[in-house]
């Protein structure tokens, strides 16, 4: 069997080199750090069912500005850690006094994690054409542990979804997702994403989603 439910402290292997994410090594043995599903491949990793979003470098996230200092926007990214968007990471050169004119408290942004230091100081950036302030469309929140399932292997699930519902979709690793399209298409996208979140851990999900979308679109026409 290559998958198993484990709890913290469960012995996973006698080969220390197989230690992957969610595990630790003691006396050359590999143990689980988490309550979740252990995957037994070359490396053994444990995927948790729940837990907070911890920002990683390169993650796309959707944030909400919660405060403005002299040179930083403080951004809530649905994590125990806030993101800092420095004025130099804004795509345009602006003055400190004008910061709130461009992004005020409450503004939502599609942004990326530029750096995370050992004290968990998180730096964000908007310096990319695909990033920026959210002005239209809708944002929903799902459990961040379901995001990998929503994206799928090599992006397969999300590309299929974008094509089938004909919407712009930005998936934040922190569980926030932006959808922009017609009212009808957005509604279908929302319902599909909710379904994926609900059944993320089950088998045969991709096929079920494909059938779901087919049925919904047929019902429309």
């Amino acid at each position: 069997m290559d998958r198993k439910v484990v709890v913290p402290g469960d012995l996973l292997s006698e080969e220390a080199k197989r230690s992957g994410e969610g595990t630790y090594v003691k006396d050359s043995r590999v143990y689980s750090l988490l309550y979740g599903l252990a995957n037994f491949r070359d490396k053994i990793s444990v995927i948790p069912l729940s837990g907070k979003y911890v920002p990683g470098v390169g993650d796309n996230v959707i944030g909400v500005v919660k405060d403005i200092t002299f040179s930083n926007w403080i951004v809530d990214i649905n994590s125990p850690y806030d993101g800092l968007l420095h004025i130099s990471e804004f795509p345009k050169r602006i003055e400190s006094d004008d910061m709130s004119k461009y992004l005020r408290i409450g503004s939502s942004i599609m942004t990326r994690v530029k750096d995370v230091d050992p004290t968990m100081k998180v730096e964000l950036t908007l310096n990319d054409r695909k990033l920026g302030q959210i002005k239209a469309g809708q944002v929903i929140e799902i459990n961040h542990t379901r995001v990998p399932r929503l994206i799928g292997k090599g992006g397969s699930m999300i590309s299929m979804l974008k094509k089938e519902v004909n919407c712009n979709i930005f998936v934040g690793q922190n569980g926030r997702i932006w959808i922009h399209g017609s009212a009808e298409d957005t509604d279908l996208a929302l319902r599909t994403i909710t379904l994926i979140e609900k059944e993320a851990h089950t088998n045969g999900l991709t096929d079920r989603i494909v059938s779901f979308l087919k049925a919904e679109k047929r019902a429309r026409s």
Partner: protein
């Protein structure tokens, strides 16, 4: 969690409202599923666990003899307290009840007291010296919205299951506490001119006006409380009273089965 997050949720709820919908698909005057389990805490003289949707409230009733208040020497005493313990919500902090917790306890108390559900004169043991003291302790376990209605339901359900512990104090045999009415609290929020009953936690966060009506078995209002920083028109209040009486009757009927 910062308050700014409500921006995302606020928009989401508002968009649904424009379509005449609520996030969980309920009608505007529809209550979530209610479950009431009585007598769950054996150490208490009466108790009830109420689930209202995902909200969970546990109420315990303890009784002991004590001194009456000087201005009512032949009447029993009811003391209602609510603990909004930190385990129930990320926004509850440890410590003595703050204004929200105190308000909740006092509104629950109002329902029990003003409906005269408990005959306080019958709780007199020795006039001027000894009366029964009833402690109603509300313990919030999971705040998923509208814990006030859940607490009020829990209080009357716990009272209905209460046995007076007379034998423990050498005051005769234990007997069931007689209850004369079943007050039910019904709460609605007002948002953009729409009235939503039994608000969920996100709906509560975006609304700034809340109105609670407590009604009795014969359709009278025995308590009311407007809270929040918004405003209400009299017509909205009268509409809420009508729906409150209807909802309370439904809940009371289901209740008497419970």
């Amino acid at each position: 969690m910062s308050n700014v997050i409500s921006e995302i949720k606020k928009d989401f709820i508002y968009n649904l409202l424009l379509k005449g919908e609520r996030a969980d698909g309920r009608k505007f005057d529809q209550y979530r599923e209610i479950s009431i389990q009585r007598d769950v805490i054996k150490k208490a003289e009466g108790s009830a666990l109420v689930k209202l949707g995902s909200s969970q409230v546990l109420v315990g009733v303890k009784m002991q003899p004590g001194e009456p208040f000087p201005d009512s020497p032949a009447r029993g005493v009811i003391i209602t307290n609510a603990e909004l313990v930190p385990l129930a919500s990320p926004s509850f902090e440890p410590g003595p009840p703050n204004e929200v917790g105190i308000e909740l306890a006092r509104v629950v108390d109002r329902g029990v007291r003003e409906s005269k559900a408990v005959d306080l004169e019958a709780l007199c043991i020795v006039p001027g010296k000894q009366v029964w003291i009833i402690f109603i302790d509300v313990h919030i376990l999971d705040d998923c919205g509208n814990i006030l209605d859940a607490a009020s339901l829990g209080a009357i359900a716990a009272l209905l299951s209460t046995k007076v512990p007379a034998s423990k104090f050498g005051l005769g045999e234990d007997y069931i506490l007689p209850i004369r009415d079943i007050p039910i609290a019904t709460t609605a929020i007002e948002f953009d001119d729409v009235l939503m009953f039994d608000p969920g936690v996100d709906e509560e966060a975006i609304a700034n006006t809340k109105l609670t009506m407590i009604t009795t078995a014969d359709g009278c209002v025995c308590g009311a409380q407007k809270s929040g920083t918004g405003m209400l028109k009299p017509e909205q209040i009268y509409r809420i009273i009508d729906i409150a009486c209807e909802k309370a009757k439904e809940i009371r009927e289901k209740f008497l089965e419970a």
